[in-house]
C-alpha cells in the first residue's frame, strides 16, 4: 500500500516538516498533511485576495447610480466572480482544508490523515478546479450569479458550462477531504482519546465533514444536469421544454444550505479553541457545543426551502421550511451563550487571536439574529432578495467564518511556521476590519429594509448616500486586511523564533516543537484528560506539566 517503508523508524527523521525536502517537487508530490495544509493555505489566501478585489470593484461602481466606470454587463460578471470565487475557492476549503489538514492529525495525536495520497489528490483536484474556474473568464465569462438560476443560466451565452464543470471538480475536492477527515477521526485517534476528550475543533470538523460528504454529491448531480440542459436541451429545468426552474432551486439549495454550515461550523470550532486558551478556562458546556455541532449538521438538511419562499414554491412548503428554519437557529444560539459563559471567572488576555475572536462574537451574533427576520415568512416577503439578505450573509460568512479563519491563522501561525508575528499590527488590523465591516454592512441592513434590491448595477437615487457610506466602509476593510497580510508575511523576514506553546494551550498540537517534525510525534501520545483542563488560581497545576511527551 505505501512505499514509504524506507524511513519508517521515527528518530532518523527529526527534521521540521518545512525543511524535510527542497524544491517544488517535494511540495507538489508531498504526502505530509502539514505541507498539503500549507499549500491549501496559500491558495485560499490568493483566492480571498482575488474575491476581495472584485468586491472592492463592485462597491466602487455602486458609489452612485448609473455608470461609474464599468458597464452593466461587466458589473454582472464581477458580482458572479466575487460570489463564485469567495464561495467555492475560498470559504469552503479555507478552514476545513487549509487549517483542518494541518491541525486535525496533530490534535488527534496521529502521524497523518487516514489516506495521505487521497489528501494530495484532493489538493490537485482543487488546483485543477480553480484553474478551470478562472479560465472561464477568458472563454466569455459568466454573468448568471454564483447560483446559476435557470432558465437564465441555460439560455444565456458565456462560459457557464466551463464554470459549472469547474465547480463540479471543486466539489470532488471537498467530498474527498470530508471523507478523509471522518475516517481519520474515527480510526486514528491517540490511545485514551475518547470522543469526549477530543478538542471542539475536531468535533466541528467532524460535523463539517459529514455535511461535505452528504451534501456535495447533490451539487455534483445538479451541475451535471445543468450542463446536460445546456448541451442536450434535456428540458428538466427549462420551462420552454417542459421543465421547472423551481426544481432547479430545490436541487441547488439542498446542497447550498448545508454548504453555508460547511462554512460556519469550522469557524465555530476555531472560536471554541481560542476562547478557552485566552481566558485560561475550560469551555463552558463541552457536550452542549459538541452535540450542537452535530445538531446543526443534521438539521441543516431540513431547511433549504427558506431560500425559496417567494420563488413559486408552494406556500404550504414555505410554512414547513420556515418552522424548521427556526429550529436550526437554536443550536447556534446555544454555542454563542456557551462561549460567553466561558469567559466568566477566566483570566482573559487580549492577544491578536483573542481580538479577532471577540470581533467574531459581536459580528456573528448580529448575523445570526438577523436570520430571524428572514426566517419569519411575513417579513421575508419584504426583505427577500434585497440588501438585507446581502448584509445578513456577509455578517455570518465574513463576520463569522472569515474573521474566525483569521483568528485561527493568528493562533496557529507560530505552530505552522515556527515564527512569531508582531502583536501591534495584528491587533490594529482586527480593530480596523471590525470598524470597516460594520460601516459597510450595517448600512446595507438599512438599504435592504428600505427596499434596495440586490445585484443592482443602477439604483434609485434615494439609496445613493447609504451606498456611498458603504463603499467608504469597504475601503476600510481593504486597508485592514492589507495591514494584516503584510504583518503576517513580515514575520518570515523578522524570524522571531516561536516557542512550542506560546499561548499555554493544552491540546496535543502544542505539545510538540513548532514547526512540527514530519512524523509529528516521537512516540504516539497517550491522552489521560480533556483538552481544556486549565489549572485554577492558587491550586497546584493539575498533574505534571509534561503529561504527554
Amino acid at each position: 500500500m505505501n512505499d514509504h517503508a524506507a524511513h519508517a523508524h521515527d528518530d532518523a527523521h527529526d527534521v521540521p516538516f518545512l525543511e524535510d525536502g527542497k524544491g517544488w517537487k517535494s511540495w507538489l508530490f508531498t504526502l505530509d498533511h502539514k505541507r498539503i495544509g500549507v499549500m491549501y493555505l496559500w491558495s485560499v489566501l490568493i483566492a480571498f485576495a482575488a474575491g476581495g478585489v472584485f468586491a472592492l470593484l463592485l462597491r466602487l461602481e455602486l458609489m452612485a447610480p448609473g455608470k461609474q466606470y464599468i458597464e452593466a454587463d461587466t458589473y454582472n460578471r464581477f458580482f458572479t466572480l466575487h460570489g463564485a470565487i469567495m464561495v467555492f475557492l475560498f470559504i469552503i476549503p479555507a478552514i476545513p482544508s487549509a487549517m483542518g489538514n494541518f491541525v486535525l492529525p496533530l490534535m488527534l495525536g496521529a502521524k497523518d490523515v487516514a489516506f495521505p495520497r487521497l489528501n494530495l489528490l484532493s489538493f490537485w483536484i482543487y488546483g485543477i478546479g480553480s484553474i478551470m474556474a478562472l479560465s472561464s473568464i477568458v472563454f466569455g465569462g459568466v454573468e448568471t450569479g454564483w447560483t446559476f438560476y435557470t432558465p437564465y443560466s441555460t439560455n444565456t451565452s458565456g462560459a457557464v458550462v466551463m464554470m459549472t464543470l469547474s465547480v463540479f471538480v471543486l466539489g470532488f475536492s471537498s467530498i474527498l477531504t470530508g471523507l478523509n477527515f471522518i475516517v481519520t477521526i474515527h480510526k486514528m485517534r491517540a490511545p485514551g482519546m475518547s470522543f469526549f476528550r477530543m478538542p471542539l475543533f475536531v468535533w466541528a470538523t467532524y460535523a463539517t465533514s459529514i455535511l461535505q460528504v452528504m451534501a456535495t454529491p447533490v451539487l455534483g448531480i445538479t451541475l451535471l444536469l445543468l450542463v446536460a440542459e445546456r448541451t442536450l436541451g434535456i428540458g428538466i429545468f427549462d420551462p420552454a421544454l417542459g421543465g421547472d426552474p423551481v426544481l432547479y432551486q430545490h436541487f441547488f439549495w439542498f446542497y447550498s444550505h448545508p454548504a453555508v454550515y460547511i462554512m460556519i461550523l469550522p469557524g465555530m470550532g476555531v472560536i471554541s479553541e481560542i476562547i478557552t486558551v485566552f481566558s485560561r478556562k475550560t469551555i463552558f458546556g463541552y457536550r452542549a457545543i459538541a452535540y450542537s455541532s452535530l445538531g446543526i449538521a443534521i438539521i441543516s438538511f431540513l431547511v433549504w426551502g427558506h431560500h425559496m419562499f417567494l420563488s413559486g414554491q408552494s406556500a404550504y412548503a414555505g410554512m414547513v421550511f420556515s418552522f424548521l428554519t427556526f429550529l436550526v437557529a437554536i443550536p447556534s444560539a446555544i454555542k454563542v451563550f456557551n462561549w460567553t459563559a466561558t469567559l466568566y471567572k477566566g483570566s482573559i488576555s487580549f492577544d491578536a487571536p483573542m481580538m479577532w475572536t471577540l470581533s467574531f462574537m459581536v459580528l456573528f451574533t448580529i448575523g445570526g439574529l438577523t436570520g430571524l427576520f428572514l426566517g419569519a415568512l411575513g417579513v421575508d416577503v419584504h426583505l427577500h432578495d434585497t440588501y438585507f439578505v446581502v448584509a445578513h450573509f456577509h455578517y455570518v460568512m465574513m463576520g463569522g467564518t472569515v474573521i474566525a479563519f483569521y483568528a485561527g491563522l493568528h493562533y496557529w501561525w507560530p505552530k505552522m511556521f515556527g515564527v512569531m508575528y508582531r502583536e501591534g499590527p495584528a491587533k490594529f488590523s482586527a480593530i480596523i476590519v471590525f470598524i470597516g465591516f460594520n460601516a459597510t454592512f450595517f448600512t446595507q441592513f438599512v438599504l435592504g429594509t428600505r427596499g434596495m434590491p440586490r445585484r443592482y448595477y443602477n439604483y434609485l437615487d434615494q439609496y445613493q448616500p447609504l451606498h456611498q457610506f458603504s463603499t467608504f466602509g469597504s475601503w476600510i476593510i481593504g486597508l485592514g486586511f492589507i495591514v494584516m497580510t503584510v504583518n503576517l508575511l513580515a514575520s518570515f523576514k523578522q524570524k522571531v523564533k516561536a516557542p512550542a506553546n506560546p499561548w499555554g494551550a493544552r491540546t496535543l498540537e502544542w505539545s510538540i516543537p513548532s514547526p512540527p517534525i514530519t512524523h509529528n510525534f516521537h512516540k504516539t501520545p497517550v491522552v489521560t484528560e480533556g483538552p481544556y483542563d486549565f489549572p485554577v488560581e492558587g491550586q497546584a497545576a493539575s498533574g505534571a506539566e509534561g503529561k504527554h511527551a
Binding site: 500500500m1 471523507l179 475516517v183 480510526k187 460528504v213 444536469l225 442536450l232 436541451g233 421547472d244
Partner: protein, 218 residues
C-alpha cells in the same frame, strides 16, 4: 497455479493492519454514500417527472424493452455473486491455494459486466436509430403525449451515468485482477478485492432500483 503470495507490511502511519483495513472499508462506505446521493438526485428528477407528466411517463416507458432490462439485471446479479465469491476465495487464500479460484471469479465478474455493456449498446443503438433521444435531439413521433423528450432525457442520464460507473468498475476490477494474478491477495491482506467488491455491489444495487422504475413501472 500456485504462485504463492507476496507478504505485505501495513502503511507506517497506521498502528496495525486491522486499523488500516477498517479505515479503508469506512472510507469506501463513505464514498458509496456519495454515489447513492449522486444517483438520488436523478431519482428525485424521475419522481418529479412522473408526478407532473404521469400519462406521458407511462406511455414513454412502454417504449423501453423490458426483456433486455431483465437480461441486464440477471447479468449484474450474477456478476455480484461471482464478485462476492472472489472475495470469499481471497479470504480463504492462506498460502496461495485459492489464487486460481479468485482469479477465475474475477474474470467471470468482468466478463458479465462486459455482457451488460453489450446489451446496453444494443438498447442505445435501437433508440438512436428511432430518434428517441434526449432534449432537442428528440425526433421520435410514436409517443402521443407531449414532452416525451423529458422521459428519454432522464432515461439516458440515469442509464448513461450507471453505464459509466460499470465501465469504471471494470477498470477497477481489472486492476484488482492484475494484482491477484501476481499473488498480492491472501487471508491477511485482501482489502482491494473487498473494496472493489463493495463498489461493484453498489453499482448492482443502483441497477436493482433503475430496472423496475424505468422499464417496468414507468
Amino acid at each position: 497455479m500456485n504462485i504463492g503470495i507476496v507478504r505485505r507490511q501495513h502503511a507506517h502511519h497506521f498502528a496495525t493492519a486491522d486499523q488500516e483495513f477498517s479505515a479503508s472499508k469506512l472510507g469506501m462506505w463513505l464514498f458509496l454514500v456519495t454515489e447513492v446521493l449522486l444517483f438520488g438526485g436523478l431519482f428525485v428528477g424521475y419522481a418529479y417527472g412522473k408526478s407532473v407528466y404521469p400519462e406521458m411517463w407511462h406511455e414513454a416507458s412502454k417504449h423501453l424493452d423490458w426483456k433486455l432490462g431483465a437480461l441486464n439485471t440477471l447479468f449484474l446479479i450474477t456478476s455480484s455473486f461471482t464478485m462476492v465469491m472472489a472475495v470469499n476465495a481471497a479470504q480463504r487464500n492462506k498460502a496461495g491455494e485459492m489464487n486460481g479460484k479468485m482469479v477465475g471469479y474475477l474474470i467471470a465478474t468482468i466478463a458479465l459486466a462486459g455482457c451488460f455493456l453489450v446489451v446496453k449498446y444494443f438498447e442505445y443503438s435501437h433508440k438512436f436509430h428511432d430518434g428517441m433521444l434526449p432534449g432537442i435531439y428528440y425526433t421520435y413521433s410514436g409517443v402521443q403525449n407531449a414532452n416525451a423528450h423529458y422521459f428519454f432525457g432522464l432515461y439516458f442520464l440515469m442509464t448513461g451515468l450507471h453505464g459509466f460507473h460499470v465501465v469504471v468498475g471494470m477498470i477497477l476490477l481489472g486492476w484488482v485482477l492484475v494484482r491477484a494474478t501476481k499473488g498480492h491477495f491472501y487471508s491477511e491482506y485482501y482489502t482491494p478485492v473487498e473494496v472493489g467488491g463493495l463498489y461493484w455491489h453498489l453499482v448492482d444495487l443502483i441497477w436493482i432500483y433503475l430496472f423496475p422504475l424505468l422499464y417496468l413501472v414507468g
